[in-house]
Amino acid sequence: MDNSYSIEVVCLFCDATLKIEGGKEYQPGDMIKCSGCGELNNHDSILGIAKERGVKLVKDDLEKELKSKFTNLFK
C-alpha cells in the first residue's frame, strides 16, 4: 500500500478551508483567521482535528484494501 493523502485544514466555526496568506508559517499557539467567517482558530486545535481526520482516512482505506484482498484470497 503506497498511497498519499492530503487533508484540508478547515475552520472550526464554519468548516471553510483555511487558506494561508502569502506562505506565512504558523507556530503552535498561533491563531489563524478564517477568511470566510473571520473567526480566529487555535493552531493546535485545528491540527489535532486534521490529524484525527487523516488517521480515519488511512484506517478506512486500509480496511477497504484488506477486505478486498481477503475476498480475493478465498475466491
Partner: protein
C-alpha cells in the same frame, strides 16, 4: 477556581461559546478529560453558568443553545437513551472551538490602547460620520448666517 469569560458581542446573553467554554473550564478545573465529562441541560447547569458568568438563562434558552452546538458537531451524546438534552459531552471540534474562542477573547481583552481606540472608532464609525456631518452642517449654517448679517 472560576474563570470569568465574556464574549465581546454581548456579555449578558447566553450563547454557544459561553456554554462550550464553561464545559472546557469545568474539565480543566477538575482535571477531567473532556470525553469523560457529561452534562445535562437542567437547573444545576443554570446555577453553574450563573456562578461563572453571572447570567441566568432559562432551561428552554439553554436547550436551544445546546441544539445549535449539537447541529454544528460541537457537542455529542455520551450514551444513547439519555434524551436530547442530557448526557452531552464536548467533541474534539467543540473543544477546539472553546479553546479558540477563549484565547481570542483573552487577546481581545489584552489588546493595546491604540488598538482599543481603533476598534472603538471602527465600532462607532456611524456615530463619527454623524458627528462630522453635524459639524460640517453647523459650519455651513454659521457661514451663511454671517454672510446674511454682513449684507444686512
Amino acid at each position: 477556581m472560576h474563570l470569568t469569560v465574556t464574549t465581546h458581542e454581548n456579555p449578558t446573553s447566553m450563547d454557544e461559546y459561553k456554554l462550550l467554554i464553561h464545559f472546557l473550564n469545568f474539565c480543566e478545573e477538575n482535571g477531567h478529560r473532556h470525553g469523560n465529562v457529561h452534562f445535562d441541560v437542567d437547573h444545576k447547569l443554570v446555577e453553574d453558568l450563573n456562578g461563572r458568568y453571572g447570567i441566568q438563562p432559562s432551561i428552554e434558552e439553554l436547550k436551544k443553545v445546546a441544539d445549535r452546538c449539537y447541529a454544528r458537531e460541537w457537542l455529542e451524546h455520551a450514551y444513547f437513551g439519555s434524551g436530547r438534552h442530557n448526557g452531552l459531552k464536548l467533541t474534539k471540534k467543540g473543544m477546539g472551538v472553546a479553546t479558540s474562542k477563549r484565547k481570542s477573547e483573552k487577546l481581545w481583552r489584552n489588546r493595546s490602547l491604540l488598538k482599543k481606540a481603533s476598534d472603538y472608532i471602527e465600532d462607532h464609525k456611524g456615530l463619527f460620520v454623524l458627528l462630522g456631518s453635524a459639524t460640517a452642517i453647523s459650519g455651513l449654517i454659521i457661514s451663511i448666517l454671517r454672510k446674511v448679517a454682513e449684507n444686512g
